[in-house]
């Protein structure tokens, strides 16, 4: 444990909240009204990227409660059925946690590949649950496009989180 050095720096509790804080920032970025045609229907799952990243690199700093609350916030802001995102994100975190050792010391393309699979599973889950709850088939093309965009955005989100991690959390 390196808590000694962290405590000496005096900012360890602030640094420890970085994963939760960045997750919430990405969550808000996902609901901002960018006036790009059809963006709203295919908004990338930024929050999923954040949860994937932190679960691989600092799982203890993004506990289930933070994941639950971020999912709930997302549902409240988007108007989706309450509980859907929190369930999705909790399951995603659990899944990533079991596979974490395959990714933690690997090169970025490998980590990206893992996220591709996770995003596919997550969007398929959302589509299924959504179709079930609404009693009608949701648009499958929109879901596919959302998957492509989510995967395409991951390098940028991952890079941003990595820089943040290096800048603020070197001692934690």
């Amino acid at each position: 444990m390196r808590t000694g050095t962290a405590a000496r720096r005096g900012d360890w509790s602030a640094a420890k909240s970085v994963p939760t804080a960045t997750t919430f920032l990405l969550l808000i970025a996902a609901v901002l009204p960018f006036r790009v045609p059809d963006y709203a229907t295919v908004t990338p799952l930024f929050v999923l990227a954040a949860i994937y990243y932190w679960t691989i690199y600092r799982p203890e700093l993004l506990p289930p409660l933070a994941v639950f609350v971020s999912g709930l916030t997302l549902d409240l802001l988007t108007g989706a059925p309450l509980g859907v995102s929190s369930l999705l994100l909790l399951l995603a975190r659990t899944l990533v946690l079991t596979q974490r050792r395959f990714f933690v010391d690997r090169l970025f393309p490998f980590v990206w590949g893992g996220f591709t699979l996770l995003a596919a599973a997550a969007i398929a889950f959302l589509w299924l649950l959504g179709s079930l709850l609404e009693g009608a088939m949701l648009d499958m093309r929109a879901a596919a496009l959302q998957w492509v965009l989510t995967v395409a955005c991951f390098p940028a989100v991952g890079y941003l989180l990595m820089r943040i991690q290096r800048a603020f959390m070197s001692a934690v």
Partner: protein, 292 residues
């Protein structure tokens, strides 16, 4: 300190199943009783509104820069098109003025009761619904600005949707394209009645058209006023495609590029229940009155 460790470990062990269970319970409860979480939603929207409002402004500024660059590129052709439009619209203005005076005279002859005064509130879109579930937006006007559940949200082009949840300073607009949106409409020419039903795609469908309907691509769709939610004659969209008996309508309003909306109060009480008790409308920001 040592005692705290096992307690913490137990908490960690059971946190996940408890939270998953809580999520599932919320999904089931929310499905069984759609109004159950409405208060939570509106309260949360109220709290988040100032933050989202502040954040959506740089986004809007960025969008307008992009739009301006785009405009500059198309300046020449745009100008030519506008000249043409202007010439045509001037003719229309003449016609409209003639019709306006004629209409007023005829109304006087018939002793028709005048339409009720219309008031509206302008509101900025502060959050989109990301994802494939819902088509709705959050706006930064609520009951303190006089917004009520069931009111119509429009842009200059046409109908956008209706207010479903109202908080103190924020409200949610269910777009025409949402799976749960049903709007009584009519074909503009023939006055045939139908229901415009969203299905989360960009083009909502027309349901319950009369059997021998003569609907064709290009027909204008307006609100019919049935049900007393919207006034009759609001422009909604145009018939874009008819395939296998499914009639799809392209809304006039660009639903993916909304920034300012007008929430219109036509003084119709409508058939929608008002589960959140509306407070007495104070004259708020952006409220204005307009004669019909």
């Amino acid at each position: 300190m040592r005692l705290a460790v096992p307690v913490k470990a137990i908490g960690q062990r059971f946190a996940l199943p408890i939270l998953v269970l809580a999520s599932v319970t919320m999904i089931v409860l929310g499905k069984a009783d759609t109004l159950l979480f409405e208060r939570v939603r509106t309260a949360f929207a109220d709290v988040a509104a100032p933050l989202l409002g502040a954040l959506s402004q740089p986004v809007a500024a960025f969008d307008s820069v992009v739009e301006r660059a785009h405009d500059v590129l198309g300046l020449y052709s745009e100008n030519a098109r506008l000249r043409e439009d202007n010439a045509r619209l001037l003719q229309w203005e003449q016609v409209a003025q003639q019709l306006g005076t004629e209409n007023a005279r005829l109304r006087e002859l018939l002793k028709l009761t005048p339409d009720p005064a219309v008031s509206f509130v302008s509101a900025r879109v502060i959050a989109n619904s990301g994802g494939s579930f819902v088509r709705s937006v959050l706006v930064d006007a609520g009951s303190r600005d006089g917004v009520l559940r069931g009111q119509a949200a429009i842009t200059g082009e046409g109908l956008v949707g209706r207010i479903t949840d109202v908080g103190d300073r924020a409200a949610r607009v269910l777009l025409l394209t949402d799976l749960n949106s049903r709007v009584p409409v009519a074909l503009d020419g023939s006055r045939e009645r139908a229901v415009l039903a969203g299905d989360n795609s960009d083009r909502p469908r027309l349901l319950y058209l009369p059997l021998r309907s003569e609907v064709k691509v290009g027909d204008r769709i307006v609100t019919s006023g049935n049900g007393g939610i919207f006034p009759p004659g609001l422009p909604v969209g145009v018939v874009a495609a008819i395939e296998d008996g499914i009639v799809r309508v392209e809304p006039f309003a660009e639903l993916s590029r909304l920034d300012f909306l007008r929430i219109v109060n036509y003084g119709l009480n409508g058939v929608l229940p008002q589960p959140v008790m509306p407070r007495p409308a104070k004259p708020g920001r952006g409220a204005a009155r307009e004669a019909p």
